[in-house]
């Protein structure tokens, strides 16, 4: 029995035929997860957007050679992972330079526009922000591959097998990366976990 075509792969086949509307749909669907991944890896929202833009341009440029061999999400996250690691390596070599300096066409582009969004209501804002900051800090100190594994793990689109394919390792190695990363995170935020400050009364926590 023939396996049904991944809807994103179907969109990509339309992009291959030059359909910009299909490309726009893919950008709309994947921009947030790719930018989230870039943001967690690079800790800079501008650079995360630049990285996501590079990812989508690569996708568009590769459309002509695209063949449906794996899920589209696995493919796009693999591209994003490579670009993230390249950027981290580049930062290691040239710590003062930003990803912006490698994009000469920035002047030709429209400036970024952001919505004014408040994430937390005032009474719980302080504690939640502090916790979020703690966990972000702890995440940022993890080795890149562990951090990536934990970030990808929260992507609904990806199974463990697909995360393993993105990371280029086995499923057991992937789970081991996640486990080790989580143990480090737990050790770093243990006082908060024990205090219940993370909101254990939340009904959604009965999981």
């Amino acid at each position: 029995m023939a396996t049904p075509l991944d809807p994103d792969a179907a969109l990509m086949l339309r992009v291959k035929r030059g359909d910009m509307k299909a490309f726009e749909e893919l950008v709309e669907k994947y921009k947030q997860p790719i930018i989230n991944m870039g943001f967690r890896m690079l800790r800079d929202s501008d650079e995360a957007e630049d990285l996501a833009q590079s990812v989508f341009i690569r996708v568009h440029q590769s459309a002509g050679r695209y063949e449906v061999s794996a899920k589209f999400s696995t493919w796009i996250f693999t591209i994003a992972r490579r670009l993230c690691l390249n950027e981290i390596r580049r930062r290691g070599r040239h710590p003062a330079e930003s990803i912006d300096s490698s994009q000469g066409d920035r002047e030709d582009q429209a400036p970024r526009q952001f919505e004014d969004v408040k994430t937390f209501s005032p009474p719980e804002a302080f504690l939640q922000e502090e916790l979020a900051q703690k966990i972000e800090e702890a995440l940022s100190r993890l080795p890149a591959q562990q951090r990536l594994a934990i970030v990808l793990c929260r992507q609904d689109e990806l199974s463990y097998e697909e995360i393993a394919r993105v990371l280029g390792c086995s499923v057991s190695a992937t789970k081991s990366l996640i486990h080790r990363g989580r143990e480090t995170l737990k050790a770093k935020i243990k006082p908060y976990l024990r205090s219940g400050a993370w909101g254990e009364d939340d009904p959604k926590l009965c999981r």
Partner: protein, 167 residues
């Protein structure tokens, strides 16, 4: 790892990615009731899952998609024939510098070809000169008394009688 522990591990791994199903929750409750020592570990697991789930999403500019589409249009995919000439990519940007670079490369190629041809010709000339020297040697008739002449040259004592007769 026994079956119960394996099941607990699988539930933990499921919790890393998503909310647990009702079956998984029931299995977890049974496991925690049988292993109260695991309750603290599960509390930490659940707390970390909760915190990771509630991490704020990264801000995305409202015109992000428009900018990507614009950039994608600007960087149109390369046509098939250009893929054939992918090696061309390492040449400098711009038509004139590329032309200059290609001219230099072609010039260097011609120069090295001419040099190798000249070297080849010089080698042939040297070989021909060697052959002509062999052709200029005395004829075989001149060499028939070679042994006698050679022996004379090896006489160490002067022949006084012969010298006197010659005087």
């Amino acid at each position: 790892m026994n079956m119960e522990e394996r099941q607990f591990q699988e539930i933990k791994e499921a919790g890393w990615r998503r909310a647990l199903s009702s079956d998984e929750k029931a299995a977890l409750q049974r496991f925690l009731a049988a292993h109260p020592e695991a309750q603290e570990a599960w509390r930490e697991e659940a707390a970390l899952n909760h915190l990771l789930e509630r991490l704020p999403v990264a801000p995305v500019s409202t015109n992000f998609t428009a900018r990507v589409l614009q950039a994608a249009q600007a960087a149109r995919p390369r046509s098939a024939w250009r893929d054939w000439f992918a090696w061309y990519g390492w040449l400098p940007e711009g038509r004139l510098p590329r032309l200059a670079m290609c001219s230099v490369m072609i010039g260097l190629g011609l120069f090295s070809f001419r040099e190798s041809q000249a070297g080849h010709r010089a080698k042939m000339a040297r070989e021909l000169a060697g052959v002509s020297r062999v052709a200029a040697l005395p004829s075989m008739e001149w060499l028939k008394d070679f042994d006698t002449i050679n022996r004379i040259s090896q006489v160490k004592v002067a022949d006084d009688d012969l010298l006197a007769a010659l005087e």
